[in-house]
């Protein structure tokens, strides 16, 4: 089944890639201005934050961010391989000191040039604690982060405030010239040059620093699209930046409207009737019974996402610490059946802890334990000596509940133990349980990589104290391998070490891999082609609008 599903999703993906490549090569040009002046409308959600680059962690604002800002590196749409954007070169000899040279003549939308200090100032501002940016901790690798970001002595809910940081700038950032700067990290980090393509690392023009709040309402970036307007709950409007220098990311339409919907269902109906040009996800009603395949036909877009779904096993629950029990549960989940039926083939079974679209992925790291085998599951369960019931927790909205209930059923049938799904009303409530270490059983964990590195599937999730180490595990062997990999100067060597670290996971099962999502989106018939990228977003440069005949 694994290969068949792969082929199924790969074929349209290849087609889309060919089509978009074709369009870029001039396939869409004969019609001239008719399509170049076109406006396209895509699905959006209300941005919860103020949309400054270091504050935008959600998909709603990211759509705007990715049009308006260009970072040092960009990512290839299919697999996320980094390439230089604003950077002309990024060099390092020890993975600790990175020298960045910028392309000359790259301008912000207000006409000022993008200089080294625009990066350095923006990063310092984003990391500075009192500015309270949601992505502040993204800068923690940089030397001197501790000087600008101080911790609250009694936790965020206590009465005391975090002390004002000693410095406003990180000593690891040094401007060398207008077009050159140097980044020194606290410790070597081999994939840092990939990380800096992420949204919070965008440059900010000088205008920003005079009035950050005013700027947030009318951002000026350096990307392929310029900000026009934002009406809360209604839409975000962007327009093409005609001076954009990078051919690869140039857009071939004039205006972009990110229309905000409160429900995917409503957007999907607009898409079917041609009022909306693109959606990166489909509502559950369209997925039911794989209805989307007939409804969309050649308008269906697919992508290999860099994501993985696992069931977290909290270390703080003594009854789940049992390795035999963990293996028994892993063996008892019928991944193939659930991905095929409940998930309507928009997911495929996982066979390890990293996504199969990432460099460094190896087949079957989880081995036999991620293959459904009720007999063996029962055997391990008997050996574990566990009694009582098993629970799986997650927020129940957004289609989360159904596959996990199916997993629970599968566990129940295979092990003959009671298993219940315990739902939280929304994502926020569920995160509260995790952050407060209040899980009472298995917890859902869906991880989407922030950047295309195998490192991103390991460090944040399984390293001691990792930012998303929801199971609160700690494994010295894993930690030391990861530390070694981080410090390796050559990326290829680092990947080998990360792979070794990956192989440590099956020895203690901090979480149980279940499935990996395949992105399914759709375009309207107004578009000749469009690519859904590895981040489940529209690759703006890939859009070719159909010529009106």
């Amino acid at each position: 089944m694994g290969t068949r599903a792969g082929a199924l999703t790969a074929a349209p993906l290849a087609l889309v890639l060919v089509l978009s490549g074709c369009g870029g090569g001039g396939g869409g040009t004969p019609s001239g201005n008719a399509t170049a002046d076109a406006t396209i409308t895509i699905y959006g959600t209300n941005p919860p934050g103020n949309m400054l680059p270091a504050n935008a962690t959600d998909a709603g604002s990211a759509k705007m961010q990715e049009g308006v800002y260009s970072q040092l590196v960009g990512y290839a749409p299919a697999d996320g391989k980094p390439f230089n954007q604003v950077a002309e070169s990024i060099t390092t000899t020890d993975s600790k000191v990175y020298n960045v040279k910028l392309r000359k003549g790259w301008k912000f939308h207000d006409g000022t040039e993008v200089k080294a200090k625009n990066f350095v100032d923006a990063w310092n501002w984003g990391a500075y604690g009192p500015n309270a940016q949601l992505s502040a901790t993204w800068f923690k690798q940089i030397d001197g982060f501790a000087d600008v970001y101080t911790k609250d002595p009694d936790g965020p809910s206590g009465p005391q405030k975090p002390p004002t940081p000693a410095s406003k700038t990180m000593k690891g950032l040094k401007v060398i010239g207008d077009h050159e700067f140097e980044i020194t990290l606290k410790a070597p980090f081999s994939v840092f040059s990939t990380v800096i393509g992420y949204n919070p690392f965008a440059p900010l023009p000088d205008k920003f620093f005079a009035d950050p709040e005013g700027f947030a309402k009318a951002p000026i970036g350096n990307g392929p699209l310029k900000f026009v307007s934002f009406t809360p709950n209604v839409d975000i409007k962007l327009t093409r930046n005609d001076d954009f220098p990078l051919e690869q990311k140039k857009v071939k339409f004039k205006n972009l409207t990110i229309k905000i919907y409160s429900q995917q269902e409503a957007a999907y109906k607009d898409l079917l009737s041609g009022q909306l040009d693109f959606m990166e996800a489909l509502p559950p009603s369209a997925k039911a019974g794989s209805k989307y395949k007939t409804e969309l036909g050649d308008r269906l877009l697919t992508a290999k996402l860099l994501s993985i779904s696992t069931l977290t096993l909290p270390e703080y629950l003594p009854e789940y610490k049992n390795l035999d029990l963990r293996k028994a549960i892993a063996l008892a989940i019928n991944r193939e059946q659930i991905t095929k039926t409940v998930l309507a083939e928009t997911y495929v079974p996982a066979d390890g802890w990293v996504n199969d679209n990432i460099e460094g992925y190896e087949k079957g790291v989880c081995g036999e334990f991620c293959q459904y085998d009720p007999a063996k599951a029962k055997e391990f369960y008997a050996r574990s000596g566990h009694t009582g019931k098993i629970t799986i927790q997650s927020n129940s909205d957004g289609g989360r509940k159904e596959p996990l209930e199916a997993a629970c059923n599968s566990i129940k049938n295979a092990l003959g133990v009671e298993c219940t799904f315990v739902g939280a009303t929304n994502f926020g409530d569920f995160r509260n349980l995790i952050d407060g270490q209040k899980l009472t059983g298995l917890g859902r964990s869906d991880w989407g990589a922030d950047y295309a590195e195998i490192e991103n599937f390991l460090n944040p999730l399984y390293r001691t104290g990792g930012s998303s180490n929801d199971s609160k595990t700690s494994n010295p062997q894993l930690d030391s391998l990861l530390a070694q990999a981080d410090a390796t100067a050559q990326r290829a060597d680092a990947i080998k070490l990360y792979q070794q670290a990956h192989h440590v996971l099956p020895t203690y099962f901090p979480s149980i891999p279940v499935w990996m999502e395949r992105g399914v989106g759709a375009k309207s018939s107004n578009l000749e082609s469009a690519t859904l990228n590895f981040k489940r977003r529209l690759e703006y440069a890939s859009v070719v609008v159909k010529a009106k005949s």
Binding site: N46, P47, P48, G49, N50, T57, D58, G129, P130, A132, Q133, L134, A136, T137, Y149, T150, K151, D152, G155, P156, S157, P159, K161, P162, E213, A216, T231, P232, N233, V234, D235, Y261, S262, Q263, E265, A266, A267, K269, D270, L272, S273, Q275, N426, F427, G428, D429, F430, R431, N432, D435, S445, D446, W447, P460, S467, S468, D470
Partner: protein, 308 residues
């Protein structure tokens, strides 16, 4: 009359304070941190949570928070949501749309509902009466969500007569179908109420007298019969306008209308307590004003009712 009005208006104050306090307490009593889940699968940076907790006074005791809020409201400042969007701005964007939607729904209820009720009430048993009874029963039994989705798919996606969703401007024309969906159930009730009331009063003494005096049929129906039968219908319509404003959550969701319903739904989900309290307070005011208006209307409809 004047004293009655004044007394009623004064009653608004304790009702207003009571409801806002209850709503405020309920909103903040819901467990959960408004900042959880804001940072995806990661925990939010402490500095962010500290700053926001501070800025919105979330560490103060509830009573202090409530009175700070009340003070702000009285001084005309509704404050900002956690994402820094002005609450009054959002309300000014959304409220007119919902008011328009509610008016469309109300008009549909009055026009279709009252006409159908009067016709069947006067004619009595027959094919038309049965048809109206069955169709109203059908409408009442369908949830708004179903009516909305079916009309949206048929008219919007299949036949292309309307756009499946309403644009940002939400013009009167675009709101006809959503207005119908929103008002459908109440329309059925209005029909049935009018029908029963008319049928009952048809045999009343004053109607017989009016007919005996040789008054034209139209005058008998519209001036004597309808006016006296209107009281239960007006009572229903009055409170219904209030519930239309609040009950638009489903309709606004289906047709993606940027109105009060959607606003309240989103803000409950995002735990934007101040926003929720403000909207609910507004709705309470609408209810209070509508019930006052309905009470005053009784006197106009039936001069025997006096308020002194």
């Amino acid at each position: 009359m004047g004293r009655y009005l004044l007394r009623r208006l004064l009653q608004f104050i304790p009702v207003f304070l009571g409801t806002t306090f209850i709503v405020y307490t309920l909103v903040w009593a819901v467990p959960g941190d408004p900042f959880a889940g804001k940072c995806g699968e990661r925990q939010c940076p402490e500095t962010f949570v500290s700053l926001m907790t501070d800025r919105y006074g979330l560490n103060d005791p509830l009573v202090v928070q409530y009175f700070t809020y009340l003070g702000k409201v009285v001084s005309g400042n509704l404050g900002e949501t956690f994402s820094g969007v002005s609450i009054s701005e959002q309300l000014l964007n959304s409220a007119p749309i919902t008011v328009r939607l509610a008016i469309v729904a109300l008009l549909i209820q009055i026009v279709i509902g009252v006409v159908a009720g009067v016709v069947t009430g006067i004619r009595g048993r027959g094919f038309l009466d049965n048809l109206v009874l069955v169709s109203t029963l059908f409408l009442i039994s369908l949830p708004t969500f179903v009516t909305g989705s079916v009309l949206q798919i048929l008219l919007g996606v299949e036949w292309g007569i309307i756009n499946p969703t309403v644009s940002a401007e939400a013009t009167w024309g675009e709101l006809i179908v959503p207005g119908f969906v929103l008002g459908a159930i109440s329309m059925a009730y209005v029909t049935r109420l009018t029908r029963t009331s008319i049928a009952e009063n048809r045999r009343a003494d004053y109607v017989r007298t009016a007919i005996a005096k040789g008054q034209p049929n139209r005058r008998v129906v519209f001036v004597h019969l309808l006016r006296n039968s209107a009281i239960p219908v007006v009572t229903f319509l009055g409170t219904d306008l209030g519930s239309l404003m609040g009950g638009a959550i489903v309709t606004e969701g289906v047709f993606n209308i940027n109105g009060i319903g959607g606003l309240i739904f989103r803000n409950i989900a995002e735990k934007e307590g101040v926003m929720v309290t403000t909207i609910v307070t507004l709705l309470v005011l609408v209810y209070l004003l509508m019930s006052l208006f309905v009470d005053l209307l009784y006197a106009v409809l039936d001069p025997r009712i006096r308020y002194d």
